[in-house]
Every structure is written in structure tokens, then in C-alpha cells.
């Protein structure tokens, strides 16, 4: 058995592709041809390719015309089914939100007004005996607080029962009962003492109202279309006229209005009339005339809550008509406005309906304002907006859309929310004035400023307008003492400040924040705003340096804490690590502190290692730090990091990489830094054992060993290789069944180790093949080493021994290689040959153990190639190769490319042998 002698440099030369000078850079395409290509694309696009983004100009015009046409159709035709369905859907979802928005206590105190509920449901009498006594003593008191308790569920189920009763009565043609029960339901809405339950009550009750309205509509429609005996006499078109309606049907319809008109109480009368509002179409072609009357009637409801919800229902009912006139809704909003200012001005009275907590009242009313303003601004034209604003008493005339008239701030808020964006951006200054003069407790003024800011961000406004607005806003916020308000407003306008390069404002704002925040630490709410502001700031600038140069930035950062602080820190780190490298001691120090804060705030127990964003960022930061020539300082930094971020597992790998890089860097600069390299390697050696993932640890050991070898530190590299081997040994124990071991990764690491071993000078005391033998013994011990893996490792070792046997090694480290150390030493070559023999034998055995035949075939080929390249053909070797080839032939198809090329290879290199013939 004899190793094949190799001349690596000659082989390299013969195999290397001859180099030819290229004229062009492969990535820079020839300019002329590219241009040609582009033109071709454009031409193509014009003919039959429709690019929705590019040809928007002409096509957009067409579609607008179509839209206009659709508009006309819907305004001519009385009802367009689709839009009706759409608004019905909106109403349903609005109702759902309404019910969810206000949490309801389990028990509801019901006043004696709500007799419909009390009669039906079981009542929890307030200790009946004591009530009786009280009644004797003070009858007035009992009369006064006729409040009783009922559970929420009972209340709701009672309402459902009422609905069922109403439908049942209707089916039995008992219309009187239907009406009576409906009035009862509507009357429930008079009791606003239920407070948070009111929205839910409203939703349930108006559902019943709508049901009634639909039933009446259908009945009258039926009367108009069918004779008494059920024969169809007329078919009503979708957009029928009042003249199409048979007088009998009209009579019935009118009768309903009379019946409802005779209801004494105002609120149920309004609700029921609204429920059958669509029926006006049977009586008149201008049903809109009745809206006016309804709007006016609702003014008689003094209870703010009841009247606001009544108007909400009105808006819903008017939505059922395809009218474009928004005047009624505008009046509603105006009335709500008046009512609110009235409520604001009235002092607390004995009246139970005026709620002590006005804020609660306003919050309960808010959804109604929201819905109505949404309805108002739903597909309005520019001209209509002008009219609406004038009618809302905001504008003087259609040109001056906003005078300096105050408005109830919560109404203003929702108006501002719904105003078309063009109006907002063109009249921003005027709107600002309105906000300025509208300040009451119904809504925080600062939130309106804030909203204006956000709305302005939606589109591009003229610079002069924005400048005026920004100047004004800065003036306004300067007056604020509260940090919270300051932040809320500033946050909204920050984008505008950035986009228009108002740097002076930015510094004012930062100063303002720091002044207010540093006196007293920010609260949780304020932290949120601060976070938003700082994140915007960070995303606006490209480089960290610019931000750090801003006055007060660091002060503001310092007052932050908790998760907001962490988020801002993460943004800073993210930003810093986007650049090529991080240098400058102050920057590094700052980022180090930030990382430390982030690290201290991290919740390591709850975060999975894989998606731990802060940990990734910190690792990345550490990796990117560059002290330039101050490598000692850099190493110290790494040491500090190890101390500071002990709990981040991934970071240690980064530290080792960085340290190795440092060592290489110093090596390149000359060998005078050997002491430094030693410290780097010492650092790695100390850090390595604490890495918990064995495979990573293994690779890092190898990496460090390489570096050590490169620096000529043989004893270090020996030690590191030993550690790597013991790490391999411990692999099984460590991982066990917890997760599948990355076998291929390990194999490639071991191959890499074999490659490294070529350079490692053999230790005469331990024998030159000490490490290779160690690897072999390891294979026998490890249960997870399947035949496939073993084959591959055996092959690697065969190649290793073959390489080591050469007179000139293919590559060398800084230290003397084995070729120099053991040149001509027969015991050395004997040792290698012995080892190779042993391995080859094992190799053949291992292949036979492979259960899968396909795998066995390719393994046999691999081994065959390896052996053929490593040894000279001999009596000892040839049968082995023949056997391997036979194995491969039996396992693989005849056409297998690998098999064919192997056979060809054998033919060329071992022509004398009988292998080819045998195959």
C-alpha cells in the first residue's frame, strides 16, 4: 500500500483555467443595448400592455366620467340598491361597535318609566318590607326613586321577547297590539338613567323600530299592489311616484301617521314616526319635506343623551332615502352643538337626567356625533362642503369657509375628522383659528390640534400655509405646562416640521420637551407620545451623528424608561447598525450604554432566542464596532461587552468572531503584536466554554485554532483542537433527543478539521497522527454516527493521511509543516500508512452497513474515488476498488453519471489494473 505522490503546484497549474482579460465588467451592461431595450418596452406598453400606474392620466378621466354618470343615475333613480345595502351594512357594524364600546354593569337600575321591562321581567325588589315602611313614612321618596334593579341579560332578553311579541301580533293581524308594544319599546328610550347601557338599549330598540317600519312598508306596498282577494293589480316600479299608489293604500298609510301622531309623549312619537319615515313616499313625491319637521321636533327633547341618540336614529332613517341634501343632518349637528353648549353652561341641578359626570355624558354622546358627521360628509361635492360649513355656522360664506366662530370642541373634532382633505389643507390656518377659539371640557383642545396635524400629513399642502400653521402651533404649545398636551400636539406636527425643513421649530420643540420632561419624569401616557416622537425623529435622519448633534436629544432619551425606552433604543441601534461600521469612541460609548439599558430591560425568560430583536441588534452593534488602529481598546470593549451582556447567548459568538478578526488584523500589521494576538486567543479560550450550543462551539474552537495556528501559537491551537474534539465527544450527551443534530454540519466541520490538521505540526511525543486517531476513536463511540457519516469521515482521514505523506504539503501555516519536520522519517510514513490501512478497511465495512442501496452506491463511488486518488494501484488496493465499484454497480443504475465518470477516471489513472475490465 503506497500513497500516490502528488505535485500540488503542477496540478494546480494544469487544472487552472487560463485567464483572459475581459473588456467589460460583467455587471455593467453595454449602455447602447440597454437603451434599445427600454425603448422596446415602452413601445410594447403602448400597444397592448396596460400599466395602471403609468397611464393614469387619460384613463382616470374616463373613469371619473363614469363615476359622475353613476352619481346621476343614483340621484335620479330613487333608490340604488347597492348604496342602500352598503349603508345598512355600515349601520350594522356601527351598532356592533356601539354595543362593545361601553361596558355595562351586570345590574341595571331601571327607573319606573320603563314599565315595559318591569312588568315582564322578574324584579329584584329592594328589600320589600323596608320599602313598604319607607312608603308609609315618606311616600314622596318612593315615588321619587322608583328605580329598580334588573340584570343586563334579563333586560336584553325582555327586549327580544317584546320583539317576538310584536312580530307575532303583526302576523295575527293585530296591528293595535303591534303599535302598542312598539310604543312601549320606544318609551324605554326615555330612561337615560341607565347610562352606559343606553347605547345597547338604543341598538336593540331601534332594531325593533326598523322591524316595525319594514312591516308597515311591506303592508302598504302590498295594499298598493294587490287587491283584497290577493290578485296582483299593479306592480310598483322601484322609483314609484305617490300618484301610483291606490287610494286605499294611501288611506292605510295616512292612518299610520295619524295613529303615531296621537302618541302623547314626544320621544316615542319621534322614534315611531322615524321608523315609518320611508312610508312618506306613498303619500308624497317630496318625502324630504318631512325630514325638516322631524329635525325640528327633536329639539323638544331636552335630555342630551336621549336627543343625541334620537338624532342618530334620524340620520340612519334619512340614509334610507337617496337624498343628496345634507341640510337636515347639518341641522341635527347644529342642534347637538346648541344642546352641548347648553349642557356646558347649565349648572348642576336637581334634575336626575342631567348626569353628574358630564364627561361620561359626552363620551356616551360621541358616537352619535361621529356617525352623523360621517353621514354628512359621505360623498359630498366641493360646493356642498362650502354650504355645509356655512350652515354649521363655521363659515361666513362659501369663500370664507371658516370664520372665527367657536364650535363645541367635540363636534369640531368629528367635523375635522370627516372634512375632505382638500378643504383641510387649503383652510388649515382658518381651522386653526376655530380650534383656538373652541375650548370647552367636551373635548381636549390639544387633541383637536393634534388631529389637525395628522390630517395635514395626509396630503401635501402649500408651504406658506404649513409655515403659518407651524408657527402658530409652536406658539400654542409653548403655552402648555403639561408635558402630555405638549407631546400630543407636537407628535402630530413633527412630520410637517421635518418635511418642510423647519429646523428652528425642531430645536424649539426639543427644548420644550426637555424642559417639561426633565422637571418631572414622564408618565406612562407621555412615554407613548415621547416614543412616537423620537421614533419619527430617528426615521427622519439618515445618520446617527446628526441626531446626536441635536440639542436635548440625549436629555430626552435619559428621562425615558420602560418598554418605550427600549423601543427607542432599538430604533437607535437599528439605525446605527445600518451604516457600514460604527466608529468614534463617544458614539460607541453611547450605543454601549443604550445596549446596556436595552439588555437590562429585556425579559429573557419570556423571549425565545430566535426572535429576540434586541439581542440581535446588540450583537449586530458589537459586530460592527470598529476602533480602527486602537485594537487594544477594541479588545477591552469586547471584554466589557462580555461582562455587560452575559445573558445574550448569541452575542458570545459575535465576541469570539470579533476577537479573532482583531487577532488577524494585528497579524496583518506585523508580528510585533504577538502579545496582543495571544490576549485575543486567551479571550476566546475563556469565552468559548460558556457557549451552550455544541456545534457552534465546535466551529468556534476550530476557527480560533486556525487563528492560533496562523499566529504560530502551536500549543494554543493544539489545546483548541483538543477542546474541539472533546466538544464533539460531548455532542451526543448534550443534545440527546432534544433536537435533531445537524449531522451534515458536523461532518463538514470534521472535514474542515482534517483540512486544518494538514498544517498542524505533529507532536513527536504523541505521534504525528494523534488527532486523526482521536477522531477515529470518536467515531466508534458516537451512537449517532450512521454508516454514511462514518464513510465520509473515513474518506476525509484517508485523504488527510495521503496528503500528509507528500514531500511537499499543499499549504503551510506560519509554523513548520510536517513535510519539513518529518522529511524522510520512515517511522512517520509508516505511521501514516498503518493508519490509512486501518481506515480503508473500516471504510469498506462501513459502506456495507449502509441500509439504503442508493446511498450505498454513491458512498461506494465516493470511497472509490478517494482511494484511487490517494494510493498507487497495487495488489492490495485494486481489489478494494473493484469491490467498491461492483457495490456501486449493483446499487445504482447503469446510466448513473457519477458511476460512469468514476469508471472513466479509473480507466485513465489505473489503466494497468483489471478494474475497468471487471466492470
Amino acid at each position: 500500500m503506497e500513497f500516490r505522490p502528488r505535485n500540488y503546484s503542477a496540478e494546480e497549474q494544469s487544472h487552472a483555467v487560463t485567464r483572459v482579460r475581459a473588456d467589460d465588467h460583467p455587471l455593467s451592461a453595454a449602455p447602447s443595448s440597454a437603451l434599445h431595450l427600454q425603448v422596446a418596452v415602452v413601445d410594447h406598453g403602448n400597444s397592448d400592455f396596460f400599466d395602471p400606474l403609468r397611464s393614469s392620466d387619460d384613463d382616470g378621466a374616463v373613469s371619473r366620467d363614469v363615476l359622475l354618470e353613476v352619481d346621476n343615475v343614483s340621484s335620479v333613480g330613487l333608490s340604488s340598491e347597492a348604496s342602500m345595502q352598503n349603508s345598512a351594512k355600515e349601520w350594522t357594524s356601527f351598532n356592533r361597535i356601539l354595543m362593545q364600546k361601553f361596558p355595562v354593569a351586570k345590574m341595571i337600575s331601571v327607573s319606573s318609566m320603563s314599565s315595559a321591562i318591569i312588568k315582564g321581567g322578574k324584579m329584584y325588589e329592594k328589600a320589600s318590607t323596608s320599602t313598604h315602611l319607607e312608603e308609609l313614612e315618606d311616600p314622596q321618596k318612593v315615588a321619587e326613586d322608583g328605580a329598580k334593579l334588573i340584570t343586563r341579560n334579563e333586560y336584553v332578553s325582555r327586549l327580544h321577547e317584546l320583539k317576538d311579541e310584536i312580530i307575532r301580533a303583526w302576523r295575527a293581524s293585530d296591528r293595535v297590539t303591534t303599535l302598542k308594544l312598539s310604543i312601549k319599546v320606544a318609551r324605554l328610550l326615555m330612561d337615560t338613567t341607565v347610562l352606559q347601557f343606553y347605547p345597547t338599549l338604543f341598538v336593540l330598540a331601534t332594531d325593533i323600530m326598523d322591524t316595525l317600519g319594514d312591516m308597515v312598508w311591506e303592508r302598504i306596498k302590498w295594499k298598493a299592489e294587490f287587491a283584497e282577494d290577493g290578485a296582483r293589480i299593479y306592480s310598483l316600479p322601484e322609483n314609484f311616484q305617490a300618484s301610483d299608489i291606490y287610494s286605499d293604500a294611501k288611506e292605510t298609510c295616512y292612518n299610520w301617521f295619524c295613529k303615531i301622531g296621537a302618541i302623547r309623549e314626544l320621544l316615542p312619537r319621534i322614534y315611531l314616526e322615524l321608523a315609518i319615515l320611508p312610508c312618506w313616499r306613498f303619500l308624497t313625491d317630496r318625502p324630504e319635506e318631512s325630514f325638516q319637521h322631524m329635525v325640528m321636533m327633536t329639539r323638544g327633547l331636552a335630555d342630551p343623551l336621549a336627543s343625541a341618540y334620537c338624532r342618530l336614529y334620524m340620520a340612519h332613517c334619512i340614509e334610507k332615502f337617496p337624498t343628496r341634501d345634507k341640510g337636515y343632518l347639518v341641522k341635527c349637528v347644529n342642534d347637538i352643538k346648541n344642546l352641548l353648549s347648553w349642557v356646558v353652561s347649565v349648572k348642576e341641578t336637581a334634575n336626575g337626567n342631567i348626569i353628574d359626570n358630564k364627561r361620561l355624558l359626552v363620551s356616551l354622546m360621541e358616537p352619535t356625533i361621529e356617525f352623523i358627521t360621517k353621514c354628512i360628509f359621505k360623498d359630498v361635492t366641493q360646493k356642498q362642503v362650502g354650504n355645509i360649513l356655512v350652515e354649521l355656522e363655521l363659515g361666513r360664506n362659501e369663500v370664507e369657509l371658516f370664520g372665527n366662530f367657536p364650535c363645541v370642541s367635540i363636534v369640531l373634532h368629528h367635523l375635522l375628522k370627516e372634512l375632505p382633505i382638500e378643504v383641510v389643507s387649503s383652510s388649515a390656518v382658518e381651522i386653526l383659528h376655530v380650534i383656538e377659539c373652541s375650548n370647552d371640557y367636551s373635548f381636549d383642545q390639544c387633541l383637536n390640534y393634534r388631529l389637525l396635524g395628522f390630517r395635514l400629513c395626509e396630503s401635501k399642502s402649500q408651504t406658506d400655509i404649513l409655515n403659518t400653521v407651524a408657527d402658530k402651533i409652536i406658539q400654542v404649545v409653548t403655552q402648555y405646562d403639561s408635558l402630555d398636551e405638549y407631546l400630543k400636539v407636537v407628535d402630530a406636527f413633527l412630520d410637517i416640521i421635518f418635511q418642510n425643513q423647519m429646523d428652528n421649530h425642531l430645536s424649539t420643540v426639543l427644548e420644550g420637551i426637555s424642559k417639561r420632561a426633565c422637571n418631572k419624569g414622564p408618565t406612562e401616557d407621555e412615554l407613548g407620545s415621547l416614543q412616537s416622537i423620537l421614533v419619527k425623529l430617528l426615521s427622519y435622519y439618515d445618520g446617527l451623528q446628526e441626531i446626536l448633534a441635536l440639542n436635548h436629544f440625549l436629555e430626552i432619551l435619559d428621562v425615558m424608561y420602560g418598554s418605550s425606552r427600549s423601543i427607542v433604543n432599538m430604533h437607535i441601534l437599528n439605525m446605527a447598525t445600518r451604516t457600514a461600521c460604527i466608529d468614534g469612541p463617544t458614539t460607541i460609548q453611547l450605543l454601549f450604554e443604550i445596549s446596556q439599558a436595552l439588555h437590562d430591560d429585556m425579559d429573557f425568560l419570556n423571549v425565545k432566542d430566535d426572535d429576540n430583536q434586541p439581542a440581535h441588534l446588540i450583537s449586530r452593534f458589537v459586530c460592527m464596532v470598529d476602533y480602527g488602529a486602537e485594537i487594544e481598546r477594541h479588545l477591552t470593549f469586547l471584554v466589557e461587552c462580555r461582562g455587560a451582556f452575559g445573558s445574550i447567548t448569541g452575542l458570545k459568538e459575535t465576541l469570539i468572531h470579533s476577537s479573532n478578526c482583531l487577532a488577524i488584523k494585528s497579524l496583518k500589521n506585523g508580528s510585533k503584536h504577538l502579545g496582543f494576538v495571544k490576549s485575543c486567543i486567551a479571550f476566546c479560550e475563556v469565552t468559548l466554554p460558556s457557549i451552550s450550543v455544541p456545534i457552534r462551539q465546535l466551529n468556534l474552537y476550530l476557527e480560533t485554532a486556525e487563528v492560533a495556528l496562523l499566529a504560530g501559537l502551536v500549543s494554543h491551537s493544539d489545546g483548541l483542537i483538543n477542546s474541539a474534539l472533546s466538544c464533539l465527544q460531548g455532542l451526543d450527551l448534550m443534545d440527546g433527543s432534544r433536537m435533531p443534530i445537524d449531522v451534515d454540519g458536523i461532518v463538514s466541520s470534521i472535514r474542515k478539521l482534517c483540512g486544518l490538521l494538514v498544517m498542524v505540526p505533529g507532536n513527536p511525543e504523541q505521534g504525528a497522527t494523534y488527532f486523526a486517531k482521536n477522531i477515529l476513536s470518536l467515531i466508534d463511540l458516537q451512537s449517532w454516527m450512521k454508516p454514511k457519516v462514518r464513510t465520509k469521515i473515513f474518506c476525509a482521514i484517508v485523504s488527510l493521511t495521503a496528503t500528509l505523506s507528500q514531500n511537499k504539503l499543499p499549504y503551510h501555516g506560519k509554523v513548520l509543516g510536517n513535510d519539513h519536520l518529518f522529511f524522510g522519517d520512515s517511522s512517520y510514513s509508516n505511521e501514516l500508512t498503518l493508519l490509512a490501512k486501518y481506515v480503508v478497511q473500516n471504510l469498506v465495512d462501513a459502506i456495507q452497513q449502509e441500509p439504503s442501496s442508493a446511498a450505498r452506491g454513491s458512498l461506494a463511488l465516493e470511497a472509490c474515488n478517494c482511494i484511487a486518488t490517494s494510493f498507487i494501484a497495487s495488489e492490495e488496493i485494486s481489489p478494494i476498488c473493484t469491490k467498491l465499484l461492483e457495490t456501486a454497480k449493483s446499487c445504482l443504475s447503469h446510466n448513473d453519471r457519477y458511476l460512469q465518470s468514476t469508471v472513466k477516471f479509473m480507466d485513465r489513472h489505473w489503466p494497468s489494473s483489471s478494474i475497468a475490465a471487471a466492470v
Binding site: H293, A302, T349
Partner: protein, 318 residues
């Protein structure tokens, strides 16, 4: 066996000069023979005296002889036989023949407390002595003939009213007297029966919170009893127009649909008269009112301010 009268109009409203049309519907399991089917139209003003300004004795002998308006008897079918199953016999009657002299003017149908003007149509099937005669009655409603009505649209007459602590003729709560209030507005005093009572109202000031503002509609029925006229005022309908302490200086609409049958054109005939009143009642929040929650809403009370105005109702040409 059943008999039913069905009028041609579901509203059952007819004018005196129009034909009263409809059908008699007979359902019978077997055929019946009869001595004739007759229809009777009967209209009258029934009067009674009860309460009001009547004395004890008068109210004891309450019923005053009714005043007949019309009484007609027509044979629809001479004696004969009607087959089994459902039989429909159409009819058509002149309520008032043109040129025919009548007992009394055709007053419009009115259902009041003391006075009621009612028109009935009755069908009778005479079946000899052995069988009970079959009969059925239906009320139809009479509205004045267009020809009898005033030309042109009725000018809607509006009256401006002021209600303050000083306009009240009854005692008020001391806090109302001292704090003061002022409610102004206008309301129609002449009104077509087909139109609502309209108007508007504004609470200009009120120191005491308002509880409710209602519009009460009253009928004033007077009956001539011998030498005396007995008058009674009673409530027809209440319509709330403000619930709670409404905003000051906000105009509220007054809008009351007139109930049918319970109202008619204002009449001043010899033996009786029917008039109407409307009153605006402001109820203030008061502890006292809670004790008297069941009291008559029209009565003046310490916590109420009111303004009553006469209301003339007319039938307009539509």
C-alpha cells in the same frame, strides 16, 4: 248564517251629495226565503247633559231628545229566496237627493262626550214571525260637501302668545313667581281639519327647570237645555312638544295632527254647539307635582303655566 255590510271605501268617508255604495254579504249554509231586504240610513245628533255646568237634576234626566238629520228606508230586494253559500247584493243610495229637502243640515260626524253626530247604515232581512230577522249596522262618516265649503284656501290665522309669571290667573309656586319665566310663540287659531295645528314656541327664560311642555286639545260642547245652555269642556288629546328642560331660545315646532271623528268643523247650531280650544301648558319641575302625578293635566296648578286659545276648525276644499 251571517250578514255583513261592506262599504265601497275603506275610509268609510262620504259626502252628502255622493252615493253611498257597497254590498251586502250574506253567508248561509242553506237557502233562505225572506219578505224583503231593506236598507236604512239614519243620521242624528244625540245630546246628553252630564257634568259640566249642568245641575244635579238636569244631569239626572241627562238625555235630551236627539235631533234627526236623515232617515231613509229603501227596499233593496223584494221578498224572495236567497240561495245557499255566499251571496253579494250590491247597493247604492243617495244620501241626500239633489233638491230634496232635509230635516236638518248634514253635520259632519263627531264623537264627543255630550254630543255625537253619527250616521248609520242598517240592513234588515225580514223573515216572518217564525224566524228572527237578520240585521247588521255599519257607521259611515260624513264630511261636508265641497259645494258647501268656503272658496279658496283658509287663511291660516296665527296668534302670538306670551306666557310669563304675570299672565297666569292662578297661583304659582313662589319660586316661579320670583324666578320668572317667559315662553313665547305662535299657534294657529283657525285650522283646516286635514292640516295639523301648527306653530312654534321658544323658551326664552325660565329660572325653574321645565319638566314638560304639552299642547292640549279640548272640545267645548254646549247643549241648549230649556232656557239654559249647558257647556262642558273636555280633553281630546295631549301632545308633548318638549320633554325636559329644553335649550333656551331654541325654536320648537308645534305640530298636532287632528284626530279624526273626535274633531269636526266648529258648529254653532241652535240647539247645540261644538267648539274647540287649544292650550299650551308648561309644567315646571317641582317636588309637589310628583305627588299629584295623576291629576288632570288641564287643571291649573301651582307648578303649571298655561295659555288657552280658542281654535276654529274648518273643512277646507282640498
Amino acid at each position: 248564517m251571517s250578514i255583513e255590510l261592506k262599504l265601497s271605501r275603506t275610509s268609510r268617508v262620504y259626502r252628502p251629495s255622493e252615493l253611498l255604495e257597497g254590498k251586502i254579504i250574506l253567508k248561509s249554509p242553506s237557502s233562505i226565503s225572506h219578505y224583503g231586504i231593506r236598507l236604512t240610513v239614519n243620521g242624528s245628533v244625540s245630546l246628553q247633559v252630564r257634568g259640566g255646568s249642568a245641575g244635579v237634576i238636569e244631569s239626572f234626566y241627562g238625555v235630551v231628545k236627539p235631533i234627526p238629520i236623515v232617515n231613509k228606508n229603501i227596499e233593496v230586494k223584494p221578498s224572495g229566496k236567497i240561495g245557499s253559500g255566499t251571496t253579494e247584493i250590491p247597493f247604492s243610495i243617495n244620501i241626500k237627493k239633489p233638491g230634496e229637502e232635509n230635516l236638518e243640515k248634514f253635520y259632519e260626524t263627531f264623537h264627543g262626550a255630550n254630543i255625537s253626530v253619527q250616521y248609520l247604515l242598517t240592513v234588515d232581512i225580514m223573515r216572518g214571525y217564525l224566524h228572527k230577522s237578520l240585521s247588521s249596522t255599519v257607521e259611515f262618516i260624513v264630511e261636508s260637501d265641497k259645494a258647501d265649503l268656503l272658496e279658496g284656501p283658509i287663511p291660516s290665522e296665527m296668534v302670538i302668545f306670551y306666557i310669563t309669571q304675570d299672565t297666569q290667573r292662578h297661583p304659582l309656586l313662589p319660586e316661579l313667581k320670583s324666578g320668572g319665566f317667559r315662553v313665547t310663540g305662535r299657534i294657529s287659531t283657525q285650522c283646516s281639519l286635514t292640516d295639523p295645528i301648527s306653530g312654534e314656541l321658544t323658551v326664552e327664560a325660565s329660572a325653574v327647570p321645565i319638566c314638560s311642555i304639552d299642547i292640549h286639545l279640548f272640545r267645548v260642547e254646549s247643549v241648549l237645555l230649556g232656557e239654559r245652555i249647558v257647556t262642558e269642556t273636555s280633553l281630546i288629546q295631549t301632545t308633548q312638544i318638549a320633554d325636559g328642560d329644553v335649550c333656551r331660545n331654541l325654536t320648537l315646532p308645534i305640530y298636532v295632527i287632528l284626530p279624526r271623528l273626535l274633531t269636526c268643523p266648529t258648529i254653532s247650531a241652535g240647539p247645540f254647539s261644538i267648539e274647540f280650544k287649544v292650550s299650551i301648558v308648561i309644567t315646571f319641575q317641582s317636588e309637589l307635582s310628583k305627588l299629584h302625578s295623576k291629576s288632570d293635566p288641564g287643571t291649573p296648578r301651582l307648578w303649571r303655566a298655561l295659555e288657552t286659545l280658542p281654535l276654529e276648525l274648518v273643512r277646507a276644499r282640498v
